[in-house]
């Protein structure tokens, strides 16, 4: 039994090594002098200095973030309404059709979505740029939001809605004061999923981006064709640390909340018996 346990642990360590080694490698070389990742020469901050001096790259980072924030915001609003609509559909068959149409968009390859958007935009005669990228990001994010919000709606006890009506709430009041607060965790999760999808999308963006506008992934791809500079390593390191910090903060907030409510619940039970 003990041996089996150790084997399991070994496997876990191995998996995490495979997952994190490339990132660690990338970050390691962001501190190296020279131009390639073949050998580590000397420790230096130079790559970070060039990164912060590269205004074009900084601007692209900001553009990418703006695009992700905006597209996921709009997709969250549309997707939440869509999820409410699907959940509210009475007929089982209609609901399944809508849900399937939503899921098809989730599983179809980015290349196809990107190409079809390109065809659509050129047919409509729209110029490619921030607008076209934003529209396509919103479009591929909506199904993700729907999938994140829908389970939360289905989890909701119908009696909560009855109770709200019973206490005198009108339809809009029920939505604002009961349904939306209840599904907020799903909406937040959907927003962040849409945000990350938008942030790291390459294929769709590559098709619909024009001359004047680039996102980080497209920019790094075009630079990589001339050989990657260690400046990109520095950028990757910073973004990784940023993401890690967010995850840690979220973890500690959750831990704190769980502790407080657990303590109060125990107190309540003790006082009753």
């Amino acid at each position: 039994m003990q041996k089996k346990n150790n084997l399991g642990r070994l496997y876990l360590v191995f998996v995490f090594l495979v997952l994190y080694l490339p990132i660690a490698y990338l970050i390691y070389f962001s501190f190296s002098t020279g131009t390639t990742m073949n050998t580590f020469k000397h420790f230096t901050w130079a790559n970070y200095q060039t990164l912060f001096a590269d205004t074009r790259l900084i601007q692209i980072v900001l553009q990418t973030l703006l695009l992700a924030l905006l597209s996921s915001l709009i997709a969250t609003i549309v997707g939440t309404m869509g999820a409410l609509g699907i959940a509210g559909t009475k007929r089982m068959s209609n609901r399944n059709i809508m849900l399937s149409l939503n899921n098809i968009l989730m599983v179809s390859p980015d290349v196809i979505i990107g190409a079809s958007f390109l065809i659509l935009f050129t047919m409509l005669g729209l110029s490619l740029g921030f607008g076209s990228v934003l529209a396509s990001h919103i479009a591929f994010s909506i199904p993700i939001v729907v999938l994140m919000v829908l389970p939360r709606i289905q989890e909701m006890d119908q009696a909560l809605i009855d109770a709200a009506y019973d206490l005198g709430a009108s339809g809009p009041q029920v939505l604002n004061r009961v349904i939306l607060p209840f599904i907020t965790p799903g909406i937040v999760a959907g927003y962040f999923m849409a945000f990350t999808y938008s942030l790291d999308d390459f294929a769709v963006t590559f098709f619909v981006t024009g001359n004047g506008f680039a996102t980080l992934s497209v920019e790094i791809y075009s630079r990589a064709r001339q050989g990657i500079s260690l400046e990109i390593n520095a950028l990757s390191a910073l973004m990784f640390i940023f993401a890690l910090a967010l995850v840690l903060i979220y973890f500690f907030i959750q831990m704190h909340q769980a502790n407080v409510s657990e303590r109060n619940r125990k107190k309540a039970e003790a006082s009753e018996s």
């Binding site: 006890d157 009696a159 909560l160 009855d162 109770a163 709200a164 009506y165 019973d166 206490l167 005198g168 709430a169 009108s170 009041q173 004061r177 009961v178 607060p181 209840f182 907020t184 409510s261 109060n264 619940r265 107190k267 309540a268 039970e269 006082s271 009753e272």
Partner: protein, 362 residues
């Protein structure tokens, strides 16, 4: 006579092909405690939801204080509900849950504050106003649900099996509290339950339901002592039911013997069913007993012994005895003529009441 608070006239409800309510007629008066009692699927919750306005009847009329309500939505009715699983809003704390009904009506803040605190005091939760819902025990959640439902000052409070999730001790405490609350507030309560003890203990009047019909309504004592048919007698309390024949008025034959009884108004030699409550059977010696049965087994129930015995025709008899009996021995059973209750087959409630009128007035 004052106008009833709620009145159902020929109400039918279909869910697809399934008829949940079959021609329901009743009227509820101001300030009484009513129970709808029946097994699951008997239509009691459908009646509750129809009163609340969550479903509308397929045909028939629902009146509130004389006004037809069929098309009035739930949020416009002066009725509030306590739900089976309380349906408290998990994203709001105790105070905000109770304040919900007032805040959507845009009642001024300071008025909300005083009224919520008054209501929380009523249910002894004034110290927990800032707790989250998931930090409360079952009994506390129950109280929040009560406070939330009565803050709108409804004319009618609906309770959908509100005590079913609590353990036995707490349930009994809450029964007293509910009864006291109802008497203090003077609002009409309609209480849905499948627990006959709860209904008997709490109600001014009980409606016994089965398969979408009201079988019998009356005070708990009436229903317990004079059940209309086999189903009601079996469902309310414990009972011994045997087949018999009504020889003539005040004389009934069962298990091969004739007994004097207190029932009348039936055809001579009409086949009937006879109910004898276990606590009305007194154990005596075989010589003194009106019936002789052989003891099969007995269980000690704390305040009484529950004895199962069989007569010569293999009818089972359940007896509540204060003293223990010997197993496998013959014992005599003694009972008064009033302890015998005779039930006709397929008698409707109106006919039943009319028949009782003819001889009970004497």
């Amino acid at each position: 006579m004052a106008t009833p608070i709620v009145e159902f006239k020929n109400v039918n409800k279909f869910f697809g092909d399934f008829q949940a309510l079959k021609n329901i007629n009743f009227a509820l008066d101001q300030g009484k405690f009513y129970s709808l009692l029946g097994p699951s699927g008997s239509g009691k919750t459908t009646i509750l939801r129809t009163i609340a306005g969550f479903t509308s009847p397929t045909s028939g009329t629902v009146l509130f204080q004389g006004q037809p309500q069929n098309n009035i939505p739930a949020n416009k009715r002066k009725v509030n509900t306590i739900f089976q699983n309380y349906a408290l809003f998990p994203h709001l704390n105790v105070f905000d849950n109770v304040a919900f009904g007032l805040s959507i009506r845009h009642v001024p803040k300071d008025e909300i504050e005083t009224r919520v605190m008054d209501n929380l005091k009523l249910v002894h939760l004034q110290d927990l106003a800032n707790r989250e819902i998931n930090e409360l025990s079952g009994g506390q959640q129950q109280r929040v649900a009560i406070a939330r439902a009565i803050i709108n000052e409804p004319v009618l409070l609906l309770l959908d099996e509100p005590l079913s999730a609590l353990d036995k001790k707490l349930r009994q405490d809450m029964q007293y509290e509910l009864r006291e609350l109802q008497q203090r507030l003077g609002i009409t309560f309609v209480f849905v339950t499948h627990d006959q003890e709860e209904a008997l203990a709490l109600s001014d009047e009980i409606f016994v339901m089965d398969a979408g019909e009201i079988l019998q309504n009356g005070t708990p004592v009436d229903i317990y002592d004079e059940p209309i048919n086999h189903f009601v007698a079996d469902f309310i309390g414990e009972s011994n039911i045997v087949k018999g024949t009504m020889i003539k008025d005040y004389e009934v034959e069962f298990v091969g013997k004739r007994f004097e009884c207190a029932d009348a108004g039936m055809k001579p030699n009409e086949p009937v069913e006879v109910v004898l409550r276990p606590e009305d059977l007194d154990v005596t010696t075989p010589e003194k007993g009106k019936l002789v049965v052989q003891v099969d087994s007995q269980l000690f129930r704390g305040d009484h012994f529950e004895v199962v015995a069989y007569d010569a025709d293999h009818n089972e008899w359940l007896i509540h005895s204060t003293n223990p009996v010997e197993e496998d021995k013959d014992i005599g059973l003694f009972f008064e003529p009033e302890d015998i209750h005779v039930m006709r087959f397929n008698e409707k409630e109106a006919d039943f009441d009319a028949r009782l009128e003819t001889y009970e007035g004497e």
